[in-house]
C-alpha cells in the first residue's frame, strides 16, 4: 500500500472493555460495520395521521429507509436485512434484547419512535452498542411533517458522527446542471436536489445556457454562469426567493465563479483580449479587485477555508497547471509538476488537500494533492471526468463524467458520480436527466 494514510482509529469510549466499534474512515473500508436499522415504531393513530398528510403508509419505515440508504452509500456501514430482525420495533426501542441483535451479527442498532403531536412530527431515536449492551446516544426532534426526509438525514448525520468521530454530510443538497438534447445543441438548466437524489427541482427553464453553479458555504445563495441574452456573465441567485442579479459590471465574459468561505465575496475570471485574469467582487460594497495580472489564462479560482489563499489554474508555463497564491494575488507558486495538464483545483473544507482534474495521455483523472503539491494521489480514471466538489466534511468528492460517443456520434451521456477520498466507494448519483457541474452544499443543520 503506497498510499500515505493517516491512521485515525475511533471511535467511542467503550463501557465494556471487550466491545469497541471502530469505523475508520481514513482508509478504504472493505469490511463495513454491520448494523441494524430497526424501523421507527409508530402507533396506529399517528400512522393514520401521517398517511393523510404525507400519503405515506408508514412514515416510521420511510424515515428508517432513508437512514439505512445513507449509511449504506457511505460505504462505511452494512445495514442488515430487516427480515432477520427478531425483535419488534417498539419493544426494541424500549429495551433491546442484545442477544438477538448479536445473533444476526449487528454491532450497532438504531431504534426509534414517531409520533403525531399537534400537527407536528416528533421523532426520537437511539443508537445502541450491541456488544457492550449500552445506549450510545438518544435524541428527539419535533418538526413540520413535510420535513420527514430531513429528519432521516439528520439521524444519519448523528449516527455517522457518533461512530466515526467526524461530521456527516447527509443533510445537504447538491446543485448541478441538468442536461438534455443532442450533444451539439444541449439544453441546460440549473437543478437542485437532496444529497440522495430526492426532491429534485429545476431552477431555470432552459432558455439560456447555464454552467458551473456553486453554493455559498454560509447560506442558500448560488453563483453561476448564464448566457442570458448571449452575454456570458456571472450571476447570483437566491434559491429561496428566486431573485437573480448580474455580478459586477464587466465589459466582457465573466466566468468560473465561487464564493469566498465567509460568503462575502465572489471570485471569478474576466476574459478580455484573449487574456483571462482573476477578480473578486465584494457583495456588500460592490468593490472589484483584480487579483492576477498576467497575459495567460488564469481561471478556476478556489479559496482556502480560512480565506487566506487562493488556488487556481493557469497556462502561464505554456500548459494548464495548478498554482497557489495569497488572497491579494502575491506570492504565486506553481504546485502541480506531474506529467500532463492539471485544472479545476478545489480546496478541501478541511484545508489540507486540493482536489483537481488531470489530463494525461488522453485520460482524465480526479485526484488530490497536498496544498504544496506533494502527495499527489489519483482516485479515478476515465474517458472524461472533471470538476470535483467536496462534501462538507471533506471525505467525499462529487464530480461529473461524460461518455465517449460511438462511430455515429451517438450515445453521449453525462452523469454525476461520487468517490471517497480513499479512492473507494465510487457511485453514480441518479438524476432525472443527464447532469454535470455538481456543487455540494454545507450541512443544512448543525
Amino acid at each position: 500500500m503506497t498510499k500515505k494514510i493517516l491512521l485515525l482509529l475511533l471511535i467511542f469510549i467503550p463501557i465494556n472493555a471487550n466491545a469497541l466499534i471502530e469505523v475508520d474512515i481514513t482508509r478504504g473500508n472493505l469490511n463495513p460495520l454491520p448494523l441494524a436499522v430497526s424501523p421507527l415504531s409508530i402507533d396506529e393513530e399517528s400512522r393514520k395521521g401521517f398517511e393523510k398528510i404525507l400519503k405515506k403508509e408508514n412514515i416510521g419505515s420511510e424515515i428508517s429507509n432513508i437512514v439505512e440508504n445513507n449509511l449504506r452509500t457511505s460505504g462505511l456501514f452494512n445495514p442488515l436485512d430487516k427480515k432477520a430482525f427478531l425483535q419488534a420495533p417498539d419493544i426494541a426501542n424500549l429495551k433491546p434484547r442484545f442477544e438477538d441483535w448479536n445473533l444476526i451479527k449487528a454491532q450497532a442498532l438504531i431504534t426509534g419512535k414517531v409520533n403525531y403531536v399537534d400537527d407536528k412530527l416528533r421523532v426520537e431515536f437511539r443508537l445502541w452498542d450491541v456488544l457492550a449492551a449500552k445506549e450510545m446516544m438518544a435524541l428527539a426532534f419535533t418538526t413540520v411533517p413535510n420535513n420527514w426526509r430531513r429528519v432521516g438525514h439528520i439521524i444519519s448525520d448523528k449516527v455517522y458522527e457518533r461512530l466515526t468521530g467526524e461530521k456527516g454530510y447527509f443533510d445537504t443538497r447538491i446543485i448541478y446542471v441538468s442536461e438534455e438534447g443532442p450533444k451539439t445543441q444541449r439544453i441546460k438548466k440549473l437543478a437542485i436536489m437532496d444529497q440522495d437524489g430526492a426532491n429534485n427541482k429545476f431552477l431555470t427553464l432552459g432558455n439560456e445556457l447555464v454552467l458551473t453553479p456553486r453554493f455559498n458555504p454560509a447560506s442558500q445563495m448560488v453563483t453561476y454562469l448564464s448566457y442570458f441574452k448571449n452575454m456570458p456573465r456571472v450571476y447570483l441567485l437566491d434559491i429561496e426567493t428566486g431573485t437573480q442579479e448580474v455580478v459586477g459590471d464587466f465589459p466582457g465574459m465573466t466566468f468560473a465563479p465561487r464564493f469566498s468561505p465567509d460568503g462575502k465575496k465572489i471570485i471569478m475570471s474576466f476574459a478580455k483580449d484573449g487574456k483571462s485574469d482573476i477578480y473578486t467582487m465584494d457583495l456588500e460594497n460592490r468593490i472589484v479587485e483584480k487579483i492576477t495580472n498576467h497575459p495567460s489564462i488564469d481561471t478556476s479560482p478556489s479559496y482556502s477555508p480560512d480565506g487566506k489563499y487562493i488556488t487556481f489554474n493557469s497556462d502561464r508555463s505554456g500548459y494548464q497547471q495548478i498554482y497557489v497564491m495569497k488572497n491579494d494575488g502575491s506570492d504565486v507558486k506553481r504546485i502541480s509538476f506531474g506529467n500532463g495538464l492539471y485544472g479545476t483545483p478545489v480546496w478541501s473544507p478541511r484545508g489540507d488537500l486540493i482536489a483537481f482534474t488531470k489530463l494525461h495521455k488522453g485520460k482524465f483523472y480526479i485526484g488530490v494533492m497536498r496544498t504544496d503539491g506533494s502527495g499527489e494521489r489519483l482516485l479515478t480514471e476515465n474517458y472524461y471526468q472533471e470538476a470535483p466538489s467536496w462534501s462538507p466534511n471533506g471525505r467525499v468528492l462529487i464530480f461529473y463524467r461524460e461518455t465517449k460517443t460511438d462511430s455515429k456520434g451517438e450515445g453521449f451521456s453525462a452523469k454525476l458520480w461520487s468517490i471517497d477520498l480513499t479512492g473507494y466507494n465510487e457511485r453514480q448519483i441518479k438524476t432525472p436527466t443527464d447532469a454535470s457541474d455538481p456543487s455540494w452544499s454545507s450541512l443544512l443543520s448543525n
Binding site: T184, L211, I297, T299, Q320, L341, G343
Partner: protein
C-alpha cells in the same frame, strides 16, 4: 497602441511563414487518413459555411492553441475584404474548444481563439467597433464524435453576421 499591435501581428505572420516554409521543405506535414487534417488542425470543408462567395465563415486551431494557420489567415483576409466592402455589417466572432478540456479553461480558450481572429481582422482594417467576441468553450460542438477529426472541427472561431 494599435500600431504596436499591427507590428506585432506582422512579426507573427513572418515568423509563422518561416516555420511553415521550413516544414514544407522537409515534407513532414502529417496528413490523416481522410486527408482532412494537417497536424491536428482541420483542413476540410465539411462544416464550413460561407459569408459570401469565396468567404468561408470559420478558421480552425490546433489542440490547446490559438495560433492562426496560413489557411486561417487567408480565410480571415477574405473576411476582412468582404467586411470592407460591406461597411454596414457587424460580426460576432464565436470561439470554441473541443471536449477534451475542463469547462472553465475551455471558455477562456474559446475567447482567446476568437480574439486571435479579431486581431487579424483589425490588422486588415476592420474597426473593433464592428466586432464582438463570444466564447462558447466546449458547449456548442458541430461534430458530436469522440475522435480526433471531430475534435479538430470543433476547435474553431466562426464569424457570424450580427445584423
Amino acid at each position: 497602441m494599435r500600431l504596436n499591435k499591427i507590428f506585432k501581428n506582422t512579426l507573427l505572420i513572418l515568423a509563422a511563414c518561416l516555420v511553415l516554409s521550413a516544414c514544407a521543405t522537409k515534407k513532414e506535414v502529417a496528413t490523416d487518413i481522410q486527408g482532412q487534417m494537417q497536424g491536428d488542425v482541420y483542413t476540410g470543408t465539411d462544416t464550413v459555411e460561407y459569408l459570401a462567395d469565396g468567404v468561408p465563415d470559420r478558421v480552425f486551431f490546433a489542440t490547446n492553441e490559438s495560433i492562426l494557420t496560413t489557411a486561417s489567415r487567408e480565410t480571415l483576409r477574405a473576411q476582412a475584404a468582404w467586411l470592407r466592402k460591406n461597411p454596414n455589417i457587424n460580426v460576432v466572432l464565436e470561439g470554441h474548444a473541443d471536449e477534451r478540456g475542463t469547462r472553465e479553461y475551455n471558455l477562456a480558450l474559446g475567447e482567446r481563439r476568437a480574439n486571435a481572429a479579431k486581431d487579424y481582422l483589425m490588422t486588415y482594417g476592420i474597426s473593433s467597433d464592428r466586432i464582438t467576441v463570444l466564447s462558447y468553450g466546449k458547449e456548442r460542438p458541430v461534430d458530436s464524435g469522440s475522435n480526433p477529426l471531430a475534435w479538430s472541427k470543433n476547435r474553431r472561431s466562426v464569424t457570424v453576421k450580427a445584423n
